[in-house]
């Protein structure tokens, strides 16, 4: 882990890999990542012309070679700028990191992929490690560095932390010392803000969206989500914190799906606000809730967040302001 002085001497630059869900369905996440990283003194470069990562659950499942070559193209855009691609999405993280790992461990495959990339004038070297924004916060900057930026603390906020799958698994291709059953890094970041991360049953259960399940068989995905939401409600929390926009969508829009499909089992709707980690962290850093995408400035309908942030905004007023 880098020491504080090393970080300050190093002008930290990363390439922000947006993916699909963050920019096109949850732009408040993009807003909060950009603003929190800016406040932390880091430079995020745009990866111009980047595409879908491609999504591991669907496109990797359809055609592995397409998955490899399109991911290598995306990484090569960051390489050309001389930076690591970083992403706020567990799915994109899974793709970029697994492809990076695979190509760096298979010389022949890397050569074959470069033969294809050469046809569009691009080249993959593998010199820059793809990272998750949580990995940058926790491993590159560290809790001590983040603590310097905390201005306000929640006095009594109860949080259900949801990691999602691909940020920790497959663990042999992740930076968390093979910890995949009981990770704590996200809870530690959440608790910097004064919030309490509440234990709940089957905390590391998948949200159900991945693997192409949500896109083809939504009832099964919603059944996973129902189980998680029941456990979360039983633990008595104020909000859910995620570090993946697909999990975020699955908990947010998913609460509606679950209410439509399984009302007889859940008895009453959940209505638990789903908040992204940089939205929460940004509040503690003193950033304007407007800048973090927590305030609605439009009259659009059928749009994210599907579960209102209002109860959370009330808690912010009571505890932070």
């Amino acid at each position: 882990m880098n020491s504080l002085s090393e970080i300050q001497n190093d002008n930290l630059k990363y390439g922000l890999f947006l993916g699909c869900i963050i920019p096109n369905r949850y732009p408040m996440i993009e807003r909060s990542i950009r603003d929190v990283f800016d406040e932390l003194g880091m430079k995020l470069l745009d990866l111009k012309g980047a595409s879908c990562c491609p999504a591991p659950g669907v496109f990797r499942s359809f055609h592995n070679l397409t998955w490899l070559v399109i991911a290598a193209r995306n990484i090569s855009i960051a390489e050309k700028l001389g930076v690591s691609p970083i992403t706020g999405c567990n799915g994109c993280y899974g793709t970029l990191r697994d492809v990076w790992y695979e190509l760096n461990h298979n010389y022949k495959l890397k050569k074959d992929i470069n033969k294809e990339l050469n046809k569009i004038g691009k080249k993959y070297t593998g010199k820059y490690e793809p990272k998750h924004i949580v990995q940058v916060l926790y491993l590159d900057l560290g809790l001590d560095y983040l603590r310097n930026y905390i201005k306000y603390s929640f006095s009594n906020l109860k949080v259900a932390v949801h990691y999602g799958c691909h940020i920790v698994r497959p663990s042999d291709k992740r930076p968390w010392n093979n910890e995949y059953e009981y990770p704590t890094f996200l809870d530690e970041i959440v608790e910097l803000t004064g919030a309490n991360s509440i234990e709940y049953k089957d905390k590391n259960l998948c949200c159900g969206a991945g693997g192409g399940v949500r896109s083809a068989i939504n009832e099964v995905a919603a059944d996973f989500t129902k189980e998680k939401l029941i456990n979360i409600r039983n633990a008595g929390v104020d909000i859910i914190i995620t570090c993946c926009p697909f999990c975020q969508l699955q908990f947010d829009l998913g609460q509606k799906d679950v209410a439509n499909l399984y009302m007889d089992e859940i008895k009453k709707p959940f209505n638990i606000p789903v908040i992204y980690i940089t939205q929460l962290l940004g509040l503690s850093m003193g950033l304007d809730p407007n800048r973090l995408g927590l305030i609605k400035n439009h009259t659009l309908k059928d749009i994210s967040p599907y579960i209102s942030y209002k109860p959370f905004l009330k808690l912010i007023k009571e505890q932070l302001i």
Binding site: A50, V58, L117, G211
Partner: protein, 189 residues
């Protein structure tokens, strides 16, 4: 043991299974599947199997036995790729990667769910995003971006038409487009 002998021995054992699927696994370096002792840790760890008919152990067993029905069943598409089976396998088999490889073989043979095909054919190939913010239908999403003071379209393929061309060229070169077109023809029939 020198490499040559090692190869012969591996192939010998493989022949006894007489499985085309197994052959494909071995050709892509997933030969560890032969180490499966059918212990069921994968099935026991599977959150999808708690609520669906997916039994990971059966899927792997069918693949080993060369039972083609594993490619046609919906079971392999019920996996949410949470990677618990991969992590917990006592024989270090990359179970989740096997399931994904089985899906690849299934799609190659034209077995793909309709919604998945539409996503690949009508969204991914055309826009190079899995979820698009372009077109009249998606106006509200562009306006939502603007409400957070972001440009109406992100600086991705959405803002660079030449980047879409690049991705499409790659998808044609690796024959993904050809595969999709073949499936499209099959569906029409």
């Amino acid at each position: 043991m020198n490499e040559k002998i090692q190869e012969i021995i591996k192939r010998d054992i493989c022949e006894s299974y007489n499985s085309n699927i197994l052959r494909k696994f071995i050709d892509t370096g997933l030969e560890e599947i032969r180490a499966c002792i059918n212990c069921g840790t994968c099935t026991g760890s599977c959150p999808s199997g708690r609520r669906t008919a997916l039994r990971t152990r059966s899927v792997i067993k069918k693949a080993l036995d060369g039972d083609d029905s594993v490619l046609k069943d919906i079971d392999i598409w019920l996996c949410s790729t949470c990677y618990y089976c991969y992590e917990r396998c006592p024989r270090n088999i990359l179970v989740t990667d096997m399931v994904i490889k089985l899906r690849n073989i299934a799609v190659e043979k034209g077995y793909i769910l309709e919604k998945h095909f539409n996503l690949a054919y009508n969204v991914f190939f055309k826009t190079c995003h899995a979820i698009s913010a372009k077109g009249e239908n998606n106006k509200k999403w562009r306006e939502l971006r603007e409400s957070y003071k972001l440009p109406s379209l992100p600086p991705t393929v959405h803002s660079y038409p030449e980047a879409v061309k690049e991705c499409q060229t790659l998808m044609k070169e690796v024959k993904f487009k050809k595969l999709l077109d073949q499936i499209k023809k099959k569906i029409k029939k």
